[in-house]
């Protein structure tokens, strides 16, 4: 059980694909001007990532390692094609708001990165958990930044107008870069402090045990 907990925490926080590893930046910067499209992008990536992790880990003994990258790309491209048809048919609003970035999920580094680093070495259940936790980490990061950018840049939340005050620059790519950079800095600062506190606590505990043993 502890293994799954570690995979989940790594995907969500300690190895968060958006803030800690800075992967998949193109859709992030292109879509966080609106919270709805940012969250839609996150959920689409979550589905594609989980399915591709499951398929690749199930096929990991069949795929020869010399041609693994083309194989992964074909699997991911097929999944993205299915996802695009599904969204076009059932969620046309989301399909329109994602625009060109929907096809670009194929070259999203998070999906290929997880396939290469995790799914090709681990079992189906672990890979599924890894896909879901990484996808959720990506979705959460995008939604938070989408809310910040849309609230300050357009004065609305998920399309509902809230206030008249707006800083138009934050709803453009320039603002997306600024908000993304500041969010990474804040996230890294918090995680650093948290880990330092954990380390200090562990050291203190070890020292007390040592003193007890000596006495």
């Amino acid at each position: 059980m502890n293994k799954y907990k570690k995979i989940t925490l790594d995907g969500l926080i300690f190895q968060n694909p958006t803030f800690m590893l800075v992967l998949g930046t193109c859709p992030t910067l292109g879509l966080i001007s609106s919270a709805f499209s940012a969250m839609g992008m996150g959920l689409t990536v979550l589905v594609v990532l989980t399915l591709s992790n499951i398929i690749i880990s199930a096929l990991r003994k069949v795929i020869p390692s010399s041609v693994r990258i083309p194989c992964y790309i074909v699997i991911i491209a097929t999944l993205v094609t299915f996802m695009r048809m599904f969204l076009e048919k059932f969620l046309p609003d989301l399909y329109d708001s994602l625009g060109g970035f929907l096809a670009l999920i194929v070259v999203n580094c998070i999906i290929l990165g997880r396939a290469e680093a995790f799914a090709s070495k681990n079992g189906v259940a672990e890979s599924a958990v890894d896909g879901i936790s990484n996808g959720l980490g990506f979705t959460a990061a995008l939604t938070v930044m989408g809310i910040i950018c849309e609230f300050l840049g357009k004065g609305s939340l998920f399309g509902a107008q809230i206030m008249n005050f707006q800083i138009g620059m934050l709803a453009t790519p320039a603002g997306a870069f600024l908000v993304y950079g500041i969010c990474i800095a804040v996230f890294v600062y918090i995680i650093d402090n948290f880990e330092r506190a954990r380390r200090v606590k562990a050291n203190k505990l070890a020292r007390e045990n040592l003193l007890k043993e000596e006495a």
């Binding site: 292109g30 074909v74 194929v106 580094c109 990474i184």
Partner: protein, 201 residues
């Protein structure tokens, strides 16, 4: 002539791939620490974009549309780009080892570059806003757009690498060092490029 100017201005300045469309940001942040490597990456991307357009656009127009298999475009395009990059790498390695030494390390990275797939997807879509009325899309305009989009990408890469080389002289807070400060720098470049959106063609 009007279409030519419109495509050049739009691809390089008003619809720049990095600052307006945010395609190809991963190499923009990853390989922009030194001007020489940024220029090498930019030229490699331009070359691959041009070659990819040269192959994918005719295949889409003359093979996939008549056969009615447009929905397979993503699989076809990514496969064409991946094999092109592999082929280009082998050819350069054989023909010019010195060029391979300068550019070879960037080529494998380009397969997963959004800018290349982005430009091929963009060119098969609706381009009438840039071409103007009564001008039909053809392979010549497509190649021109791909070439200048690549040059616009290279331009922003070089500007960014120059600014990042200067940034090395200053001390930044530990949490801001690395990607965050690069993104704040990129924010200023984007703001500068906003000026070009006032160009109306």
């Amino acid at each position: 002539m009007g279409t030519f100017i419109a495509i050049v201005l739009s691809a390089v300045l008003t619809n720049n791939f990095i600052t307006v469309k945010t395609y190809g940001v991963c190499p923009f942040l990853g390989v922009s620490k030194k001007t020489s490597s940024a220029a090498g990456m930019g030229i490699a991307v331009t070359l691959v974009m041009l070659l990819a357009t040269l192959v994918t656009y005719p295949i889409y127009t003359y093979v996939m549309v008549p056969l009615g298999i447009e929905f397979l475009e993503i699989i076809f395009f990514i496969f064409i780009i991946a094999s092109l990059v592999q082929m280009l790498e082998k050819i350069i390695q054989k023909v010019s080892p010195s060029l391979y030494g300068a550019m070879g390390i960037y080529l494998p990275l380009i397969t997963t570059n959004c800018a290349v797939l982005g430009v091929t997807e963009l060119l098969i879509g609706d381009m009438s806003a840039i071409l103007g009325e009564g001008v039909a899309m053809n392979i010549g305009w497509a190649l021109l757009y791909a070439l200048f989009a690549g040059l616009g990408f290279t331009l922003v890469m070089i500007i960014m690498s120059g600014m990042r080389e200067k940034l090395n002289y200053y001390k930044t807070h530990k949490a801001l060092a690395g990607f965050p400060i690069a993104m704040v720098t990129a924010c200023f470049i984007c703001m500068a490029f906003t000026v070009f959106s006032y160009i109306s063609i």
